[in-house]
């Protein structure tokens, strides 16, 4: 028994790793690297790359612009409905992407909640680049906000209190103390949301469709190409593996700030009760 258990652990680990690694390796091993590079030059692959870069950058910018203040408020203020607000932020994380897609259509589609009014103004959102951006924001944004809440929550409240007593108003306290100290956590959150956004498929295909050069992102192109030109599908897949791996490495390498000057690293600083 004493020797069987460690052996069983090792065997399970080897099987798990092999199962996870082999499909990724297969993308690179099935055809030669030269073929992969050639296929990346195809029009479909280039269009998909352009669409992905454009929509992802705009979506990430908007996520950070709206998500940072949201995360700060939810991390530092307590108000009635706080738990509900945090739960609502988390809901899209567990929602199937197809549900996100149908929800977005029901909101912004031609006959949707807001879409019908927008339509009357001559604004169409569904099946445009705007729709891709919205779909990415909906599924990827919560990753940033959730990580941001944790990052701001870890900033020792006595530091922001100290800034206030030193004459800094709420805005300067945020800019000079809370934001710099939460920056590494926010960076990790942005990387996670970026990775989720790049891989977004279900909500996009329902809400934005897969129109080459307009709404067809890299992930959608892999799906479109796999029964048209398998090599191109593989090449785009390889491209996505490299990007995703790069994001993962960035997240792992982000240095963690020491958040507190406390001599007792785990002790909470000033408490209101003593």
């Amino acid at each position: 028994m004493r020797r069987i258990f460690p052996a069983a652990l090792a065997l399970a680990t080897v099987i798990t790793l092999a199962f996870l690694v082999v499909p990724i390796a297969a993308i690179f091993l099935r055809v030669s690297p030269a073929t992969l590079v050639d296929a990346l030059g195809s029009e479909v692959a280039r269009d998909a790359l352009v669409v992905t870069v454009q929509t992802t950058l705009i979506a990430q910018l908007l996520i950070i612009l709206f998500g940072t203040p949201t995360a700060y408020l939810l991390a530092t203020r307590r108000f009635p409905g706080h738990t509900l607000a945090v739960t609502l932020v988390e809901l899209p994380l567990v929602l199937p992407p197809a549900v996100a897609g149908i929800g977005l259509l029901a909101t912004f589609g031609r006959l949707g909640l807001l879409g019908s009014s927008l339509s009357a103004l001559g604004i169409e959102i569904a099946f445009t680049k705007v729709a891709v951006v919205l779909a990415v924001m909906f599924v990827a944004g919560p990753f940033y906000v959730r990580t941001g809440i944790a990052a701001f929550g870890e900033v020792d409240a006595s530091l922001t209190d100290a800034a206030r007593t030193l004459g800094a108003g709420p805005a300067r306290t945020f800019g000079r103390i809370a934001l710099p100290l939460a920056l590494s956590g926010l960076g990790a959150g942005a990387a996670l949301s970026f990775a989720r956004g790049i891989g977004e498929f279900g909500a996009t295909i329902m809400f934005a469709g897969s129109l080459q050069g307009v709404t067809q992102t890299l992930s959608l192109a892999v799906y479109e190409q796999f029964d048209v030109d398998f090599d191109t599908a593989l090449a785009i897949g390889a491209e996505l593996v490299v990007v995703s791996a790069a994001v993962l490495i960035v997240v792992k390498l982000v240095p963690s700030w020491r958040l507190s000057t406390s001599i007792f690293p785990t002790g909470s600083a000033t408490s209101a009760s003593s």
């Binding site: 020792d156 006595s158 530091l159 209190d161 100290a162 800034a163 206030r164 007593t165 030193l166 004459g167 800094a168 108003g169 000079r176 103390i177 710099p180 100290l181 700030w257 020491r258 958040l259 507190s260 000057t261 406390s262 001599i263 007792f264 002790g267 600083a269 000033t270 408490s271 209101a272 009760s273 003593s274």
Partner: protein, 344 residues
């Protein structure tokens, strides 16, 4: 004349903080057990805690007046608050920490020099020792040129060795600043060394306010007596022969010159207690015969626990008497050294 007037009423988790206190150009220490509301007083003055009712004014200028709807935010109150664990900004250099709230660059240089941390100006707080952090925290608070100084347990994060020297420096600094200063500590020695007056805060209420020697000489309450280092003997008092005789719960009786009757406690400080092998032949001297509970040497003094009493004698006399734990000895104290505290 600088003054800080505090009048607060605020419900904390399991007690109500009720405090009225006027602080001139002096240091007032608030002492008491943890959870008594000491830090909450500082937070309320700084504007970090909104009391349910109260008024806080500095030189007559209202910072808080709940009745009139006045409540200045922390950044508009001129306080220098030194946090218990200093709350230095870890991502900023010492100089940037001190400059954060400073009134001018000249003040920063001046304060860095004054607290002897100019050499650390480019370091970051995580690399500093405890004593250095404490000085940076003080420098940062002072550089704001505040009208009120608030110190939350300024010495508690330091080790015993650093503590003694920092205590001396801090006393000199407070004397030089002459600002209304409120200092929170759970240590009576720190309070006695740093403060002009000491307020004992227990369960949200100020039990007694006076100089440290007043608290030692006339404790108003058993807690105050114990806090100043006295041991307590409980009993029932009745006037006798112009003195007061207290029938002790532990047996025997003790005399005190303080008047009183009914349930009382007698407070005796260790330095008033002498220890001998035989009872002294003097009716003015109280004595208790009991085995030695513990013997602890601190420097050139020995703390001897005799029954309910704690005495402090020199190592010389302890050796002369050949004291050992368990020996039955006589601990005695004069009737003039027995402080009588009436119990409700």
């Amino acid at each position: 004349m600088a003054s800080l007037d505090i009048d607060l009423s605020h419900g904390l988790r399991d007690l109500r903080l009720e405090l009225t206190l006027s602080v001139g150009a002096e240091t007032v220490a608030l002492v008491g057990p943890s959870g008594a509301g000491k830090s909450s007083v500082l937070r309320a003055v700084a504007g970090l805690l909104q009391p349910e009712r109260g008024r806080i004014a500095v030189d007559g200028e209202r910072w808080l007046d709940t009745a009139a709807g006045v409540d200045l935010p922390p950044e508009r109150r001129s306080v220098g608050l030194v946090f218990q664990e200093y709350a230095l900004f870890p991502h900023l250099t010492v100089r940037a920490n001190v400059a954060f709230g400073a009134t001018s660059a000249a003040v920063v240089d001046d304060v860095l020099a004054r607290l002897r941390i100019a050499g650390l100006a480019d370091e970051r707080p995580p690399r500093l020792s405890g004593g250095e952090r404490q000085r940076v925290a003080l420098a940062r608070a002072i550089a704001r040129e505040p009208r009120v100084l608030l110190l939350d347990e300024p010495l508690s994060a330091l080790d015993a060795h650093t503590r003694d020297s920092v205590r001396g420096e801090l006393r000199d600094l407070l004397a030089a600043l002459r600002l209304p200063t409120v200092l929170v500590t759970h240590d009576f020695e720190d309070a006695a060394a740093l403060a002009d007056r000491v307020g004992v805060l227990v369960d949200g209420r100020l039990l007694q306010l006076g100089t440290a020697s007043e608290l030692v000489a006339a404790p108003a309450d058993p807690f105050v007596a114990r806090f100043t280092g006295a041991t307590l003997l409980h009993g029932v008092a009745e006037p006798a022969d112009g003195l007061t005789r207290v029938a002790l719960d532990v047996g025997g009786s003790a005399w005190t010159i303080d008047p009183g009757s009914g349930r009382v406690a007698i407070a005796v400080h260790p330095w008033e207690v002498s220890v001998s092998r035989t009872a002294p032949d003097d009716s003015m001297v109280n004595h208790i015969r009991a085995p030695i509970g513990s013997l602890v040497t601190v420097g050139n003094r020995v703390r001897v626990r005799v029954g309910p009493l704690a005495g402090e004698i020199t190592t010389g006399s302890a050796e002369r008497l050949g004291l050992r734990e368990g020996d039955v000895v006589v601990a005695s104290f004069k009737a003039t050294a027995a402080r009588l505290i009436p119990l409700a």
